[in-house]
Amino acid sequence: MPSIFAKQFKERSTKLSADLQHRFWIQKSLKGYEKNREEKRNRFQNWEAARQSAAETKWEAVNHLDQYLIEFTDKIGARGTKLFWASTAREAREYILNLAQEKNARTIIKSKTMTSEEIHLNEALAGAGYEVIESDLGEFIVQLRREVPYHLVFPAMHLTRGEISHLFHEKLGSAETDSPEELTMIVRRKMRAQYCKADIGISGANFAIAETGMISITENEGNARLTTALPKVHVALLGIEKVLPKLNDLALFLPMLATAGAGQQITAYNSFIGGPRQSDEVDGPEEFHIVLLDNRRTELLADPEQRDALHCIRCGACLNVCPIFRNVGGQSYGTTYQGPIGSVITPHLRGLQDWKHLSSASSLCGACTEVCPVKIDLHHHLLHNRRNAAALESGRWERRAFRVFAFLVNRQALFSGVTMICRFFQSFHRLISGTKADPLRAWTATREVPMIAPQSFREYWKSRQK
């Protein structure tokens, strides 16, 4: 019995893969990215060596996670940062809700954090009566449309400027325009007031540096800098796996994140925050809170075969190259983390039974593994998930089918017999091909079936021996 999530995915993905306009739009977008990424990659003296180094650094961090997390929290805590360790999404949400209540907050401004999507923070805050504003342009757009982000890094890449203009006109009362620059300025103007009036700024973090006790935030717009500079209280929400051992590791990770994720040499702003405003500083939040989130990451950690999935730096490169993503779009996945990495980790974070279908929705082409800057064995993990899912009770039908298959192919006389029967029936099949009566409809709806050769190779070989 496929889960409801599997059914939804099948529906949405079927619909969107057939949508030629969507296909054309997304491929055009991604072509531009590929060109830029190639160019920046070629500037590296040795991109493959850089990948290996990044992979080793993340391996070190994740495989000594307890040590580095303790170092990170001790150091950042020593500078006045308040730390909260959340085992579950609920604990993380509750901490932030309680904090908002304690501070009598009314407005909360956020910069881009997928982790907050993961714990459904916005709904909880809005439900409790707080005004929550996404400051990142792409996130702001999908928030207005009440949609989930289309892509980890480019939340609104599926929309045309016309759609965005219409959206702003409707929700913000601005004049329609087809200039991306004017559209951006509309949001810039609106946000100015929000930064200043917000009581709490919530950000994510791309990395947590253990050696010096700092978080590192990568962005292009400057909204994260403002979100973490102006409000009196700053909360950073991050998964426990974000740790990097040394400050100098950023010299490798910042350009790799930018190159793989956005085809840029490095993004416009990479900021390192180590505490609330210090006594000799002129501005900055008075309080700085870090919420460290587990939410079943420790379960993925406990699987040594797939542990490297925790090395992910959320660059989105795997999404960009995935032929499935390109055709079904990020919103079809129905879960926070999309694309290959999402398909790998979601069964661990949200249950194998409900989410195994994402691992099947792949041709295992391996483009994701090839592009991953930290060498996560992505497409092989999809195979591992399939193996783990097949062992579940729900996999028994497929196991039985393959037992028959194995029986058949190990006995070539039987196999040849089946081939002859198929050859006989194929002319009949032509009559019903593609219709509702056709058992091969999954194939024949869009493709012709090849005719079985009048003489199979084994028949030819046998005749040669005579």
Binding site: Q45, E48, A49, Q52, S53, A55, E56, W59, N63, H64, L69, I70, R79, W85, S87, L137, F154, A156, M157, L159, P180, T184, M185, V187, M191, M214, N220, E221, G222, R225, L226, A229, I240, L247, N248, A251, L254, A262, Q265, I266, A268, Y269, N270, S271, F272, G274, G275, D280, E281, G284, F288, D294, T298, E299, L301, A302, E305, D308, H311, K375
Partner: protein
């Protein structure tokens, strides 16, 4: 047991099983030789100051950072005035730093010093700051809350203008992080940042628009032989 102890406990339990080392599927030639450093595979940078400045200039052109080289603080001051007149500045926000003194005293406009109580750089047309370094490899500016007047000054006004010395030009990102340790030791400011070009977004049809939230214009004035 505290929540921290719970999570650390689960981590330790999970790590009892050993994971395969990274890149174990790859052919050995895809892996880097042991003992090599990131500098061996990051984009290469020339080692002499003049070439590094050229590299910074090239990056700036790509990024749309306005990069101006001058020979003295007096010239820098003149450039600042020129830009200010062209852009029609009414109010300048800045902070107290020796390298900025000359330019600010000759600017002929009201200057809002961030050190003053209740200083609000939001109303300013430009934020003028110093910095810790200029990174040739990427065309980046390294600055902190201590070297550049706090967190907001360099990001809130629509124009960010930096005055830097030639001796502040460094080669690459590894050098930037080494420098931070040299300057600050263990006592880091709460905020440090690498600024590379004006603020930008590609969120609308992947078309690059400058000035999304941070400054639309970024100017770097390099005082040579200083």
């Amino acid at each position: 047991m505290s929540q921290r102890e719970e999570i650390i406990g689960r981590i330790r339990e999970a790590l009892r099983l050993v994971a395969q080392s990274p890149g174990h599927r790859d052919a050995p030639d895809k892996n880097r030789p042991i003992g090599a450093s990131p500098r061996d595979w990051l984009p290469s940078v020339p080692s002499d100051s003049e070439s590094q400045i050229e590299a910074f200039a090239r990056c700036s052109a790509d990024l749309k950072t306005r990069f101006i080289q001058v020979n003295s603080l007096a010239e820098a001051s003149a450039q600042v005035n020129k830009i200010g007149r062209a852009e029609g500045w009414n109010l300048v926000a800045s902070h107290r730093a020796p390298i900025l003194e000359e330019a600010l005293s000759n600017i002929g406009l009201p200057v809002l010093y961030i050190e003053n109580t209740n200083a609000d750089p939001e109303r300013a047309d430009v934020g003028i700051t110093g910095c810790d370094a200029l990174v040739a490899q990427t065309g980046s500016i390294l600055l902190t809350a201590r070297s550049a007047g706090g967190r907001a000054l360099s990001v809130l006004p629509p124009h960010h203008l930096v005055i830097a010395r030639e001796s502040q030009v460094i080669a690459d990102l590894p050098a930037a992080f080494e420098l931070l340790r040299e300057i600050y030791g263990d006592n880091f400011p709460s905020f440090m940042t690498l600024i590379t070009g004006p603020s930008r977004t590609g969120d609308i049809e992947r078309i690059v628009v400058l000035g999304a939230h941070g400054p639309k214009t970024l100017t770097v004035i390099l005082v040579k032989n200083h």
